[in-house]
Symmetry: C2
Subunit: 351 residues, 2 copies
């Protein structure tokens, strides 16, 4: 007579039907293990009683699997969800997980450690994206966790990369070939050990190459510059701390507002966001593009192509990166590291 506040369970259902819990469980999970008749009867009764099928929490405890894959993002969720590149990556991951009956749990390496640890013990596997790996983080992951690293390496786990160095070499080489320039400059993304949103000088130490892809991009730029007779160390560099218009703009302004004879006439940017910011601000200053200043980016985001002039850039298939990482974590793909290609896009910002 007591009002059943409690959710109905598999056991209730079994009792109601006068069968064992095992049979009910089988009705849901292994149709071949019982007669169609009985199964039908069970499913019907379940519907009648409002039983929604086995509880995921209990099932995951019992089976050890949750069908949840966690993506651990280096940046904050807020940033990652608004950034075109990581959004596309996530969308690739989601696409595959989805089609394989898994769901996506979003985590950020910036989160409280305990939260990470918690979520960690729920997930069946981890895709870690763009992270400079900190010991701490890996401590909170299960030891033998399935893990795929994207855009960096973790010993003992496969990773997915893009050919940053050759791509940057190619685009810079191209830029320097077709339109001879006097004053190239580089705008980096998160390259210094200590935060620096502005000009990089000799005081700054750079992050080591193992920790960030931006070192590879820089290496590609430098190789091209050297090939065209520049001393790499002489080419001025600016650093941007976050790949957003707001953070980027002051740095770009600092560059564009240099006296005309010092102002760079070619900006090798490590991201489209940076290049687009430069484009917007250059246009608003009445600079002609590409005559007064050439711009090249990296990423190939849509925003750079759906405008005039279109950005000259390198397209990386972020979506494919996500799909690949997801297939790897699900074991649909051999578990060895992979290197994805890129494609040069010739826009009008650097013909």
């Amino acid at each position: 007579m007591s009002p059943p506040i409690r959710r109905i369970t598999l056991k209730d259902l079994a009792r109601e039907l006068g069968v064992s819990t095992a049979t009910v469980s089988n009705a849901f999970n292994r149709p071949d293990q019982l007669s169609p008749n009985l199964r039908e009867r069970i499913l019907a009764e379940a519907k009648r009683l409002g039983y929604r099928g086995p509880d995921a929490k209990a099932r995951s405890l019992r089976t050890g699997r949750s069908r949840i894959i966690a993506v651990v993002l280096a940046e904050s969720l807020t940033y990652s969800l608004n950034d075109a590149v990581s959004s596309e990556f996530l969308s690739g991951v989601a696409e595959v997980l989805d089609s394989q009956g898994h769901t996506l749990l979003l985590l950020s390496a910036r989160q409280a450690k305990c939260q990470l640890a918690d979520a960690a013990s729920m997930a069946d596997g981890f895709i870690v994206y763009g992270l400079m790996p900190s010991e701490e983080l890996f401590d909170s992951l299960p030891l033998n966790a399935a893990l795929v690293a994207v855009d960096f390496n973790v010993a003992g786990h496969p990773s997915v990369h893009v050919d940053n160095e050759p791509a940057c070499f190619e685009i810079a080489d191209r830029a320097l070939s077709t339109m001879p320039r006097q004053r190239p400059a580089i705008v980096n993304l998160r390259l210094t050990r200590e935060p620096c949103n502005g000009r990089i000088d000799t005081e700054h130490t750079l992050l080591p190459a193992e920790l960030t892809i931006t070192r590879s991009r820089l290496a590609g730029f430098h190789r091209a510059l050297v090939r065209h007779g520049f001393a790499a160390a002489q080419v001025p560099m600016w650093n941007v701390e976050e790949n957003t218009f707001e953070v980027c703009a002051p740095v770009i302004e600092e560059i564009l507002d240099l006296p005309a004879n010092e102002r760079p006439d070619l900006l090798l940017c490590m991201s489209d966001r940076i290049a687009l910011t430069a484009l917007t601000l250059a246009e608003s200053r009445g600079l002609r593009i590409p005559e007064d200043i050439c711009l090249v980016g990296f990423d190939g985001i849509a925003e750079g192509q759906y405008r005039a002039p279109r950005l000259t850039t390198v397209r990386q298939e972020s979506g494919e990166k996500g799909r690949l990482a997801a297939r790897m974590i699900l074991g649909l793909e051999p578990g060895h590291s992979r290197l994805l290609g890129t494609e040069l896009i010739l826009g009008e910002t650097c013909p």
Copy 2:
């Protein structure tokens, strides 16, 4: 002597230390329930043995809560993660969940039903976004689930809305006032019952107002048009099935390629994505903006403001919408429906 493949558990730890499991549990969950000394000893031993703290799966079964909030998106994850408006919404949700020690599970109403049901029994609560509610969907959610609806209504649950009708009235009224126009037209987003990517004629039936916010937006446009002497029914409408450049472009081309004397000189667009597509395509045809054609959008996405000419549009605070929904689902906010304001942004596409 058997190699302990098994993960170490709380019980193992207790045995190892010669204390009870309750004490170990308390060491992790209620520090005040045992002496600092003992707690210290337990934590140290845990670290030594590589115990990562209570297993989330078991804990969630026992306590009934998982600290996971699911966001159910009307569109596919792929679309939602690439769309500026929903990304910003998600980022608002994530921000709050994050700060409250919860994590975000991403679901799509387009997913297989069983998947949804599964994930449903994991989550502590649901934020359902932009959904035209289908019975089916709600069937797979727990009966008494905590649920917040965003951009539509669900009986018995609070919702978060934006003042679509007044906002659309205001921007259309403004557009019609400052620059008298002969041939206004409306470009809708997902407004017809049957898919239609092109001109809407009298054959088409529209979705009912309960199911979609686009009906409210249309009502606002119509009210302004009527006020300026147009017969609402005479104003031509085109429909766009998905808020992406690719899907949008052919419709816009159809409009722009009309003979000059039939071509609309004012496009009231239901989203910035639509308006930006129109802007790009109009520019590439050499049309002058706003002289030849005025454009207004809706949303206020960054992309529309970081360019020249800037979009005239209505800003809705998608991020705030997400934050609010998240606070409501966590009980940090009174559980009644809320209506958020919007802000008119005067850009150059319609002065």
